[in-house]
């Protein structure tokens, strides 16, 4: 079977792996690198659970081939904070109860990271718009929106 030599930086670590050209980035991260924090909810680019950052921009890893990440930098949820030292966005999500089952959460966190870097003082309207590509079936979004507001405050210091 034809394979491709892939070099990619994920959460600051450089990886070299042979992959089949048809391997999805989501499968590569989860299965080849064991970074199972990125979740797959629909495999057709609608739910947003698989969102990761490629060179700082959120992308759907279920709609991206691993080979498309060649030479790029990827940040996944594992690249934000640790359990002992949560990223301010993660802290805000805990404090505001911005997650229930937690399945959609990794994609929301990465999306919010890019959003707040671009817009540190968002209105509620802007937050709703920014989250509209991430489906959550548990929370009704209200606590997520509050968590993003709180995260913005924390990040502004």
């Amino acid at each position: 079977m034809q394979t491709f030599e892939l070099t990619v930086t994920v959460n600051g670590t450089r990886y070299q792996r042979s992959v089949e050209p048809r391997t999805l980035l989501s499968d590569f991260l989860r299965h080849d690198l064991g970074l199972t924090g990125t979740h797959v909810g629909c495999e057709h680019g609608v739910c947003g659970a698989c969102s990761v950052l490629m060179d700082g921009q959120p992308i759907r890893s279920c709609l991206t081939f691993a080979v498309q990440a060649h030479g790029h930098e990827i940040i996944t949820v594992e690249g934000l904070g640790t359990r002992e030292s949560l990223h301010p966005i993660q802290q805000a999500f805990q404090e505001a109860h911005g997650l229930q089952c937690g399945f959609c959460t990794p994609g929301i966190l990465t999306t919010v990271k890019a959003f707040l870097e671009q817009n540190p003082r968002p209105s509620e309207e802007e937050i709703r718009e920014a989250l509209s590509g991430n489906l959550c079936r548990c929370t009704g979004y209200q606590h997520i929106i509050e968590a993003v507001q709180l995260a913005a405050e924390k990040m502004r210091g």
């Binding site: 990125t38 949560l86 209200q142």
Partner: protein
Amino acid sequence: MDRKLIGKRVVRNEDPRLLTGHAQFVDDVQLPGMLHAAFLRSEYAHARLLKVDVSKARAHPGVVAVFTAEDMGKDWFPGPPLVSPPPTVKDVIFHSRRQVPLAKDKVRHAGEAIAVVIAESRYIAEDAVEDIEVEYEPLPVVLDLEKALEPDSPLVHDDLESNLAARLYQKKGDYEAARQQADVIVRRRIVIERGAAAAMENRGIVAHWDAQSEHLTIWDTTQAPIPIRNGTAARLGLSEHQVRVIAPYIGGGFGPKIMMFYPEEMVIPWAAKKLNRPVKWIEDRRENFYATTQERGQIHEVEMALSRDGRVLGLKDDFLHDTGAYDPYGLTIPLNTQSHNMGGYDIRNYSSEFKVVFTNRIIATPVRGAGRPHGIFVIERMMDAAARELGMDPIELRKRNLIPPDAFPYEHQIIDQAFAPLILDSGNYKAVVDKALELIGYEKFIKEEQPRLRREGKYVGIGVTPFIETTGVGPYEGARVTVEASGKVNVTTGIGTQGQGHFTSFAQIVAEQLGVKVSDVRIVTGDTSEFHWGTGTFASRGAVVAGNAVHAAAKSVRQKVLKLASKVLETPEEELELEDGMVRVADIPQKSISLGELAVLANPLRGAVEPGTEPGLESTSYYGPQYGATAFGTHAMILEVDPETMMIKIRRYVVAEDCGTVLNPLILEGQIHGGVSMGLGNAYYEKLHMDENGQLLNASFADYLLVSSTEMPHIEVAHLETPSPLNELGAKGVGEAGAIPVPALFAQALENAFHDRRLEVMEMPLSPNRLFELLNDVTR
């Protein structure tokens, strides 16, 4: 009782794991030598299987095995009846027809599994599924509930005389006599169609047979790990102690994850044992639309008898319920509908017959609400129709019929979904309705704002919908609480958890008794090797049933702690207090001992323990209610409709909720918000469109619209507390409450917005298109 932790907004113990991507979900399980499965699913909703040729698939490089029904031999038999026997109501009919591991001879819904390919990777397995050749003989498809019962209808199950799966009649008082005395009779036909539960995590299962220890381990996205363990052991001829089922972190349940057994749950463990290699199957989203259970399809013919002054004298509701191709879940959904048809109202005469109908659709099992939204839709729609007929304010009509606070416990003289008597245990219903009216500003809106908005050309309507939710039903749950030598506390319980915050609410209950930090209480749920008695998470019962078992076990451990500490500190028990992980003498704080030290003393390595004592600071307790605790709430909404596009904007959304003792308001509000979002989907966005051949037309998230952050309104929540007298915590469930009244509320607000155009909404789900059609119908 003065409570330190119960009722507080405590942040969740489980969050750091979930937020950093370290919580294990089923698809995260990776085992050495693990194989991957993909299923071939029926293209037809109803067809004979003439030939299934898997030879090419078997020859596909990387494929390890392909199995059909034939290949399973004597291990091929249907799943067990999940809720049986049917209740002991007179003249009940129930034909049990259960799903099979892989279809044999005939397929009964599109997406039914026919064969499984097991390969070195999922990619290869899916490639090889394409190589399977199936010869079908298509049969006429049964979809319409009414036509399905006609004598010439094709049959879903050829051995039955008709597509009738079940029939059950219940009554209270004498409806016919009430009808004779009535001034007004209101009749309506109500149609509710199917939606999907759509948990963000699809289903999945990993099975690992260890041939050396003869032990089977299964990771399953189930809400009920213990019944899955027991049933799997029985299917495979193993002891229950040879099977361990782990329901790790689960990405949302909402009901379908307690369907037992799914075909995949029968096939994957069997295949792993047969091949002696771990096998993983993870459902994809398209499969989720075709192979995960759904709910909501019912048709009602309703009649309400009233006096001129607005007393409901009686209610009659005969309805059809769509069970899909099989009926493993028994009568739970229609029984729930039947027992919510009277809402929170004092209705003395009731007559209801339901017929459950087999169709060529995926099986129906409970989805958040589980028949309750239908019951509330029926009674609340009839209330509004009756108010118009009587020329009475719809809120006034409701208030005249609410069960008064001094009438509890209120007996309805019928049985509920748990086959227990339907008794509403406690409540102050009028206070909750008044709270919602006050928050939404009902009077002011009706008298001032609405006329003003109407003059501005805006269509803005208000709805106020009270509802009950029966919760916390039996049979029982259990829990074991252990103080460990570290001074930390471990708690195990049998229920599964899918995001409800059990790791925190149960920890609060324990910390309250033992005087430790909430974060020092570790909760283990959903692992049968840790606790193996219990049923599962369903019917809004986790906090009530497991919560009270946890409470009882924690109280018992507290007694053990006090007894031992009293000896060690030479102080009477009543002078001791538990705080900060220590037992202290109340007036002499330096005279104290830590829980950890006590745990060591209770489990000594040498010396003699007193006869009759048990080692350790540990206790196991069970809680089983005689009947469920019933919650009550009222939702109110102000809704604006663009009369050109039929797009909507929710201007205000208010929830007044009485679910007894509040354990954690943060978690409670989250449950309500999520329920409302699903309810809004059921009302205006989420309808499964099926063509006449039984093929879904919107089986993707691009076409089946879940409510997103831009549609969701801000929700204001108010809590009232009428503790349930049925359990020590005073708790009532709330998991499904948010979803239950929303379709009825939505219909009411729409009718109110278009009251001058005489709109009447007797169906759900709607959509902008459908609303446009309904408005055109009444205008014509």
